[in-house]
């Protein structure tokens, strides 16, 4: 085994055991289910696949899922950067509490977030009552989906940008100031380029997570076909009707797009690491 793996010699024991457990568990929990998905796809054929995915309702849901995920990722890029910036650069009371709170969407179950947001943004809710006079409806519209996805995605952006901002060398900014650059110039030409790779990574992660999100969205979305019905919900309703083939087809389209994004994240990280390394 160590020959195939080209294992470098180490005095530490336990490679066979730990690698064996890892591979076994990975195969059982992750690879086997994926194999099942691939297997049932192969039995489907193009006609079955297109029939399941091609309907107007399914296409609308996939478009909606990716559009709302994209918009929420954009919102999170702006506010996530701002939050990370404020947390790293400015002192204010209660900072550690605020910093801990940023991880809430990781820790709070999605269904809980879903019903809480729905209640807040309902026409008589704490936030909704102020939006109704302005003619803004959030609950049961695509806007509600964006709100839920923004909640879910925020920590991804903050937590990837924050360490980069912390490591930024202040000397660069001091030098730029001495050379006569304004704060805005420095932000645009020194700080922003340095944080851009992490922003792209964080935004992509938030986007990828948002496309598959289910629990927090279904309560606030209202799930009106062609209007506010997301792709994961289509999968669930197809399964409820025992249409496993249809559900698989929709899942496949979503997985394909997720894979592209995972690949993209890795490429970006590789590119950022190389650029960072070259700067040294």
């Amino acid at each position: 085994m160590s020959n195939i793996l080209n294992l470098r010699h180490s005095v530490l024991p336990g490679f066979r055991l730990s690698f064996g457990i890892t591979l076994f568990w990975l195969a059982l929990i992750v690879l086997l289910p994926f194999a099942a998905l691939v297997y049932s796809t192969m039995g489907m054929g193009w006609d079955g696949f297109l029939a399941a995915v091609g309907s107007e309702r399914v296409m609308a849901s996939i478009r909606l899922s990716f559009a709302t995920a994209g918009l929420s990722a954009l919102i999170n890029l702006v506010f996530g950067f701002l939050v990370a910036w404020v947390l790293v650069r400015y002192p204010f009371p209660g900072k550690r509490l605020v910093d801990a709170l940023v991880d809430l969407p990781f820790a709070l179950p999605t269904a809980v977030a879903g019903i809480a947001l729905t209640t807040l943004y309902a026409p008589n809710g704490w936030i909704g009552q102020f939006l109704v006079p302005l003619g803004i409806k959030v609950s049961f519209t695509p806007l509600g989906i964006i709100v839920a996805l923004t909640f879910i995605g925020l920590p991804f952006v903050v937590r990837t940008v924050q360490p980069v901002l912390e490591d930024l060398e202040k000397e660069l900014e001091e030098a730029a100031t001495c050379l006569g650059a304004s704060r805005w110039d420095i932000f645009r030409r020194v700080i922003f380029p340095a944080t851009l790779p992490s922003l792209i990574t964080g935004g992509t992660m938030a986007f990828a997570r948002a496309t598959g999100e289910y629990g927090s969205v279904i309560f606030i979305a209202g799930n009106i076909p062609l209007v506010s019905e997301i792709a994961p919900l289509i999968i669930v309703s197809k399964l409820d009707q025992f249409d496993q083939q249809g559900a698989t087809a929709v899942a496949l389209v979503m997985l394909g797009i997720s894979f592209v994004f995972l690949l993209l994240i890795n490429l970006i990280q590789w590119w950022a690491a190389r650029r960072h390394g070259a700067g040294r």
Partner: protein, 290 residues
Amino acid sequence: MANLTTESRPVRYALTAVALLFLFLFLLLPLIGVFWEALHKGWQLYLTALVEPEAWSAIKLTLISAAIAVPLNLVFGVSAAWAIARFDFRGKSLLTTLIDLPFAVSPVVAGLMFILLFGANTAVGGWLQDHGLQVIFAVPGIVLATVFVTFPFVARELIPLMQSQGADEEQAAIVLGASGWQTFRKVTLPNIKWGLLYGVILTNARAMGEFGAVSVVSGHIRGETNTIPLHVEILYNEYNFVGAFACASLLALLALVTLLVKSLVEWRLHRQQQASTLRTAEARLQAAQP
């Protein structure tokens, strides 16, 4: 010039205010909302909602599935971290990517995959059912889905930690004659215990709170295959808001504990790092003295 590298005071205050307002509206208010909705009609109703038999059986099932899923992923996570952070082998980055795979999959798709694998009309599922084991729409399916969605957390937490700590201390222990287990117990474990604790707590929080994947495989049989999040959904859709938010508040409390442990762990790791930097500096100083 007071400070070359910061903005003027009005800009600072304005940016801080906007960031805090955003966090207040998007994070804090939903959290407060959960507890408010659960409690604003009084403790009596809150407690009644929690001891009701269906809520109670959902709580029990949630505890059981977490009690199975978390230890399994703990063993896996530690093994994966040991293999990946302590050895160099071909295909390591592929292995790391595969471990991260459950992150990239929609929870609903995760549930679907287990239905395709273990559903009653599949080869494997049919065979298991003939031998008296129902997976889908039963507890084993819920456990499997939970294990899948929480699969990467412990490994994800430990791998960067162990990589940054390096293998020097463990190599020294082995060279000095300690056995593998002794080395792991007395050298590795004390070094990674805080990261491990957070990994386990996070795994547990996600295991107890998972909704999408579990929802797909559970079949929603009341009093039998409902976990707390699924029970919350049912109560909410029946307009029993106090009941829904009472159960939700349990999960929100769990989330708060998770955040607390995370802050604690980060603080500990920070101190540990400072202490070890200090030790190294002292050792160097002593070595330099004649």
